[in-house]
């Protein structure tokens, strides 16, 4: 139960910052998205995001900022294993499952459903 609460408040806090950026700044949501991925990558590469992810679990890994963390984490791992080429081959490895699943499920959903309004 306490893990759910931790995931909820950390995940919610990350989204709250995003909502404030939408409401209080002129940043478009596309830019906020890219900003979040970059922040995640930077925080991940210096090891800060791992501490947050260990504490909050899915609350930290599911938001898009966790995707950035994932990219940097797997680059670091690939570089440790394979050296220089790991910079290029590493980033998408950890995300491969997520990206392929997105394409497949998106395709299936497009076959089954019609678009809807908000």
């Amino acid at each position: 139960m306490s893990e759910i609460l931790k995931a909820f408040w950390v995940g919610g806090f990350i989204c709250l910052i995003g909502q404030l950026l939408i409401d209080k700044t002129k940043l478009t949501s596309g830019r906020i998205l890219v900003l979040y991925v970059c922040i995640g990558a930077v925080l991940g590469s210096v090891g800060i995001y791992k501490i947050i992810a260990d504490y909050a679990g899915a609350g930290a890994t599911v938001p898009i900022i966790g995707f950035g963390h994932n990219l940097s984490k797997s680059v670091l791992k690939e570089v440790a294993d394979k050296g220089f080429t790991g910079i290029f081959t590493g980033s998408l490895k950890a995300a491969a499952g997520g990206i392929s699943a997105t394409i497949l499920f998106g395709f299936i959903a497009a076959l089954v459903f019609n678009p809807k309004e908000k």
Binding site: G18, I22, K26, T28, G30, P115, E117
Partner: protein, 339 residues
């Protein structure tokens, strides 16, 4: 005889008559305060089509049919169709009129298109180039979101300053004779760009253009704002409407609260419908005029209005390249009785 007065205004010698008006509105618009004024309210914004874009063209086609029918004419009586929409290359209108086989001028004035279409249509009539002309504009919430922002399926959040693109089409038939309110003046707007870059706050980008057109119109016609029963802007929304009143005050023009309004404000119930700053899109001014204001002018409940559709002339490419949003506004003076 010179029909141009002042800097930007045309005064018609024989003011063209708006003999009919038709409107089709989307589901959400049909749940708003103006629901009883539209000719048709869609139960499904896909309208049985396979895409939002196809649905929009179908709406265009049907609205024109209704407007022509109400005017007691057939489509072959129409000399020209002036129309436009927000989709790339004006496909909403083009595909909507392709079965009619009548001469067509495709226009792009973003959300000011209805003003542009009515102005040009009236000029064609008063110039003696046509007897019956159609002017219309359409937009579709889902198709616009997809083109200008993000596909709806992404479930993106909308900022408070953003407006809600109207789904629908408003079309008028303008004629050289008949009964109905007449277009007496047109003040074509010029582009005003004060450097606003926020595509989620188009009201602020368009308000300076609306102010410029109102000031120019009043100067050219030597009229006071009180001459009009109502000054109606297109889709400034709450944010832009407030800004417009401030800008007019800076120019020394004060208009009573009940004598100036905005179609984007009229069309939705802000709190109940969660539409943030109000309605927008080509269809916003078009359906509100055709459904709500036209009958009031026809019955004489409104003596005259200054109708000012407003447009934000950006594209996804220009926004992506960091360009600001140029605004435009065209003023159409419409009177229920001309002496």
């Amino acid at each position: 005889m010179n029909k141009k007065i002042g800097n930007q205004t045309i005064k018609f010698a024989s003011p063209p008559v708006i003999i009919s008006a038709a409107s089709i509105a989307g589901k959400k618009e049909g749940e708003g305060p103006l629901k009883k004024y539209f000719d048709v309210i869609l139960s499904d914004n896909l309208k049985g089509e396979k895409s939002w874009e196809k649905a929009e063209s179908k709406i265009v086609e049907n609205t024109i049919k209704i407007a022509v029918y109400k005017a007691g004419l057939t489509i072959d009586d129409i000399d020209y169709i002036f129309g436009g929409d927000l989709l790339n290359q004006d496909t909403g209108s083009t595909f909507g009129v392709r079965n009619f086989r009548r001469p067509f001028f495709g226009l792009f004035g973003a959300c000011s298109t209805m003003g542009e279409a009515m102005g040009l249509a009236a000029m064609a009539i008063d110039g003696g180039f046509a007897k019956n002309v159609i002017a219309g504009a359409s937009s579709h919430f889902c198709a616009s979101e997809k083109q200008f922002r993000f596909p709806l399926d992404m479930g993106n959040q909308r900022p408070q300053s953003s407006t809600w693109t109207i789904t629908g089409d408003g079309t008028v038939v303008i004629s050289n004779k008949g009964s109905g309110p007449r277009i007496t003046h047109v003040t074509a707007g010029k582009i005003v760009d004060l450097g606003v870059k926020d595509a989620n706050n188009m009201g602020a980008a368009m308000a300076p253009a609306a102010c410029d057109t109102i000031v120019t119109h009043l100067k050219d016609t030597k009229r006071s704002p009180n001459y009009y029963d109502l000054i109606v802007t297109g889709d400034l929304g709450y944010v832009g409407h407030t800004l417009l009143k401030q800008l007019l005050a800076q120019e020394g023009i004060y208009i009573n609260e009940e004598k100036i309004t905005d179609c984007g404000i009229e069309i939705f119930n802000k709190t109940a419908q969660d539409t943030h700053s109000g309605g927008s899109g080509c269809a916003c001014s078009a359906v509100t005029f055709c459904g709500y204001f036209y009958p009031k002018l026809k019955t004489g409940e409104l003596k005259n209005i200054l109708f000012i559709p407003t447009g934000a002339l950006m594209s996804t490419t220009s926004s992506g390249q960091g360009e600001s949003i140029p605004g435009i506004a065209h003023a159409i003076a419409i009177e229920s009785r001309v002496k």
